[in-house]
């Protein structure tokens, strides 16, 4: 893994891997969304509104996968001091926050016609809103730490610690519909079982794969951007010294 400690080697790989993820990701995601929008039959109770499933559920998974990425990368940064881990964690924050926001917005739009309300403070909805606020906090903290580092105050580990501590919310989101009576229904897909009919399940899984590839491509793109920022900063400082 320390083979990638050399940013130049990582950048060479990221350059071809990024389009390799983004292009198939976009094709799969839009294909699955079109399938879900035009070809899937209406649900017996929810009717046409079931089509929002194909954007709501993959966004929810990626909102949580985004923070899991932050947590794992933060652990690698703190324990092994891998130079790219902190960059990877910071790169995952903005796409993760975006998917979390999409999940909350589509969920709210879906809730109005089905449940009869835009929002309720039940366990699932509240813990997911907290996830969005954790992302905002993380992004602000990472930005502040980067400015400190640029000002020569040394690398801050606070961001990584916050990334790890925030991960406590992930199992809470996952279990919220099991532990507490909630308006949100319990999970439809659990270890190898699905209460979702095949007509909905296949486009959902393809949409999830497509969204995941897009997420991966975005993280790589942001890692390249953050590394370029650091290089520019270092070069400017050398010029100022000279």
């Amino acid at each position: 893994m320390h083979g990638f400690a050399n940013p130049a080697r990582f950048l060479r790989m990221a350059r071809w891997l990024m389009p390799l993820m983004l292009v198939p990701g976009l094709i799969l995601a839009f294909g699955a969304l079109a399938w879900g929008l035009f070809m899937v039959p209406p649900d017996q109770l929810m009717g046409q509104t079931v089509r929002i499933l194909f954007i709501h559920v993959p966004s929810a998974w990626l909102g949580m996968a985004g923070w899991s990425t932050i947590a794992i990368a933060s652990l690698v940064e703190l324990v092994w001091r891998h130079p790219l881990a902190g960059i990877a964690a910071r790169a995952a924050a903005v796409p993760g926050a975006a998917f979390t926001a999409i999940c909350l917005a589509t969920g709210s739009i879906w809730a109005r016609p089905t449940w009869g309300t835009w929002w309720v403070w039940d366990g699932r909805l509240t813990s997911f809103l907290i996830l969005l606020f954790l992302y905002f906090g993380y992004i602000a903290l990472a930005g502040a730490a980067q400015r400190d580092a640029a000002a020569g105050e040394g690398a801050s580990r606070v961001t990584a610690i916050f990334g790890l501590v925030g991960a406590v919310n992930i199992p809470i989101i996952n279990r919220s519909v099991v532990w507490w009576n909630s308006l949100h229904q319990p999970p439809s897909i659990t270890a190898g079982k699905s209460a979702i009919d095949a007509a909905f399940l296949y486009p959902l899984l393809i949409a999830a794969l497509g969204f995941t590839l897009i997420f991966g491509g975005l993280v790589l793109a942001r890692m390249r951007m953050l590394l370029a920022d650091i290089q520019t900063e270092a070069r400017l400082r050398r010029k100022a010294m000279a």
Binding site: L53, T114, G123, L164, V165, I172, W180, N181, Q185, A199
Partner: protein
């Protein structure tokens, strides 16, 4: 040599211990929140421990099949919310959400008046099953068989 611990491993042990403590604290908090964080009472909970009359609470359960009765005024309905242990009669005046049907989940916001739960608002609760409309005309057993195929 045996007393030498690599700083890398020291950090790993330290962080794992901190995480275990953190997750433990989170679990304890979640258990403590068990009752307060519940969005609604089940009928059996409401019957076993009735809240004070007039206190705003939420009642969640299944709408009993064949229990919805519309009153002569046309906007007031009576129905029964049940779980596997208890049944609570509910009265509601107003427009019901689309998913409010017999045999499906509901969350009623309101208060106990005598033995009847008077609801100001109804929220429909969807279950975890997604079934295409064509299957609606199948018998329950057939639909279950189709759903089971995807498991």
């Amino acid at each position: 040599m045996s007393t030498m611990i690599k700083p890398k491993h020291q950090r790993l042990v330290l962080i794992v211990l901190a995480l275990v403590a953190l997750i433990g604290a989170g679990l304890l908090a979640a258990i403590a929140l068990r009752n307060q964080a519940a969005y609604f009472y089940l009928p059996s909970e409401l019957v076993a421990k009735p809240p004070e009359m007039g206190r705003a609470v939420r009642l969640g359960g299944m709408v009993e099949k064949g229990s919805i009765r519309t009153q002569p005024d046309g906007v007031t309905i009576n129905f029964i919310v049940k779980d596997d242990k208890a049944r609570v009669p509910v009265r509601f005046s107003g427009i019901t959400p689309d998913l409010f049907v017999e045999g499906s989940g509901v969350v009623a916001e309101g208060r106990m008046e005598g033995t009847t739960f008077v609801a100001d608002n109804l929220l429909a609760k969807h279950d975890e099953k997604y079934v295409p409309r064509e299957m609606k005309n199948m018998s329950t057993a057939e639909a279950k068989a189709v759903i089971a195929e995807t498991k």
